[in-house]
Amino acid sequence: MRDADTVLANVRRGMLPAHIYNDDEVFAAERERLFTRAWVFVAHESEIPQVGDYVVRKVMDNSFIISRDQSGEIHAMFNMCLHRGMQVCRAEQGNASHFRCPYHGWSYRNDGQLAGLPFHKEAYGGEEGFARKQQRLIPAPNVDTYNGLIFVSLDPDAPSLPDYLGDFAFYLDYYTKQSPSGVEVLGPQRWRIKANWKIGAENFAGDMYHTPHTHTSVVEIGLFREPKAAKRKEGCTYWAGRGGGTTYKLPPGTLEERLRYVGYPDEMIERMKEQWSQDQLDVIGRDGFMVSAASVFPNLSLVHNWPKVAEGGDADDDAVLPFISLRQWQPIGPGETEVLSWFVVDKEAPEEFKKLSYKAYVMCFGSSGMFEQDDVENWVSLTTTAGGTMARDLLLHGRMGLLEDDSPVVEPLKPDQFAGPGEARVGYAEHNQRALMNEWADHLDGGVRA
């Protein structure tokens, strides 16, 4: 990567060389140094609920079969036959006890072990000559789950997933653990955009500043009342462990009133009260913040909004309903990303809630979502321009929230103002984008902290 030291030093002080959003060498470095190490989300357990269920997902450009074997255990196996390298599974999802390579007919159990190969005895000398039992599709070097979210790391020496996520797990619970049963994850919608993968991750991590402007139209049509400019800046951003996100400030009220305000029915609120820690409840009930968008380094993002899902009343009435989405920014090339976007809903939610939450999701996010449409237009345009040679000399200004001498414009919230871990600040700033890009620089540098 050209001028790597200068590029990384600039990134670390919040000045972003524009070409990092569309550059072959930068992308090659990300491929070799970042995606071979970081924990990357691949699937949720609820996508493969039954024995034999599988989905095929990628970590960067590596195809993995994520399967549930006959004993219910989850595996992530490199989707490449040990013999001549054919993909042993070419479907995106399904249910199978075995995967048979279409090339020469080697077959593997859904836990990866080689089960059979034609003419084993004649061609290989049987078990004596070639022991099947010791052969298996290459397992991902590291697999672990949190709240059913399955992550893979290609680094055998990666820190454990809990260590990697760190205190961000506290915030993941809002999205993925609203009851003891956890969530079900539906989808994904998949589509490709001519934009660099980092832009979405940064945006979801902390860009409250774009909301009132980019998404003016959804306020104007009465779909979502919150993103008015003056209101959006009352929220706080937080960064904890390897993730961070944005929040909205809720109107005064009790925990229950505030959860009702965003559209949760009482029975779900009761389960949240049982499920979440006092600190998790205090962020909402005492401090008045409700999580919205968030990102986990490198390329997993989440969003929680509460639009109006049906006709009736005016734009400021209370007929809103929350939805949650999980999405991955899958890098395809320096200027292209595949978006995988899932709808997430609490398993114990009432059927009517699930239905309307799904409706809210499809209207707002994903391939046809009215929020998402405007975001992508911006990101494509940015990426195109970043491919030019001039972009090498342009340092984009990513220092919002910092004064010239690096001291913050706004001090972090104190523990009696914000009960969550990490560092949280009210208002518009780019602390989170810098935190994310610092992780990026650390990974590209090789100096990854445990």
Binding site: R90, A91, E92, Q93, G94, A96, L186, G187, P188, Q189, R190, W191, R192, I193, K194, T214, T216, S217, V218, E220, I221, G222, L223, V309, A310, E311, E338, W342, F343, K354, K355, Y358, K359, V362, M363, G366, S367, S368, G369, M370, E372, Q373, D374, V376, E377, N378, V380, T384
Partner: protein
């Protein structure tokens, strides 16, 4: 062995109240007045969509419209399904389609400012009678060409559609549209368009 799996509104959590009228018998002869009427309706609609005259398009929709485009997934032959469970690209009723159109009409729908140049290429139209005199099922293929900006690579969306047209007074309205998109991964930046 057929690989065809029909799309059904009741596969959608929002499709429980959708019209259920189905095609009966073979397709109508191409000189059948009902086919001519349905074909003309679809051709006229493509002009409305290409010109992005979305108020006029909304006026072509029945109040109980179910506009449904499930996600296609690659599954093994014989799996018996090729759409994702309970998830879709579009799963719309009159309210949500109305919001989408209203948004395009604000001054802040950046994704279509400047607007895309779009062309719906319509073909393979065939019409079926139903058990209801005033309802016809129409199948068609549509290839959407979409160009944005000056030199951006254009995108294509190919789909099969199965529509239910219903006579309401002296007009025919779209009461149900099932869209079988032909890619599992869409190669267009968003669906700020209608098929």
């Amino acid at each position: 062995m057929s690989t065809y799996v029909p799309i059904r509104s009741d596969a959608s959590p929002l499709g429980q109240d959708a019209p259920t009228t189905e095609a009966v018998g073979p397709s109508l002869a191409f000189d059948d007045p009902r086919h001519l009427l349905a074909h003309r309706w679809l051709v006229e609609e493509t002009y409305v969509l290409d010109r992005q005259e979305y108020d006029d398009w909304l006026a072509l929709l029945a109040d109980d419209i179910h506009y449904f485009m499930p996600i296609r997934v690659t599954t093994a032959a014989g799996a018996g399904y090729d759409t994702a469970r309970r998830m879709a690209h579009f799963d719309e009723d009159r309210y949500s389609l109305g919001r989408r159109v209203a948004r395009f009409q604000t001054e802040h729908a950046w994704t279509e400012d400047p607007p895309s140049r779009i062309r719906h290429h319509l073909s393979n139209v065939r019409t079926f009678a139903t058990r209801v005199d005033d309802e016809l099922v129409v199948e068609s293929a549509v290839l959407l060409f979409r160009s944005r900006g000056d030199v951006n690579e254009p995108s294509l969306v190919s789909a099969g559609r199965t529509d239910l047209l219903r006579r309401t007074g002296d007009r025919w309205l779209l009461a149900r549209r099932h869209i079988a998109v032909d890619e599992s991964v869409l190669r267009t930046q968003n669906l700020a368009i209608f098929l």
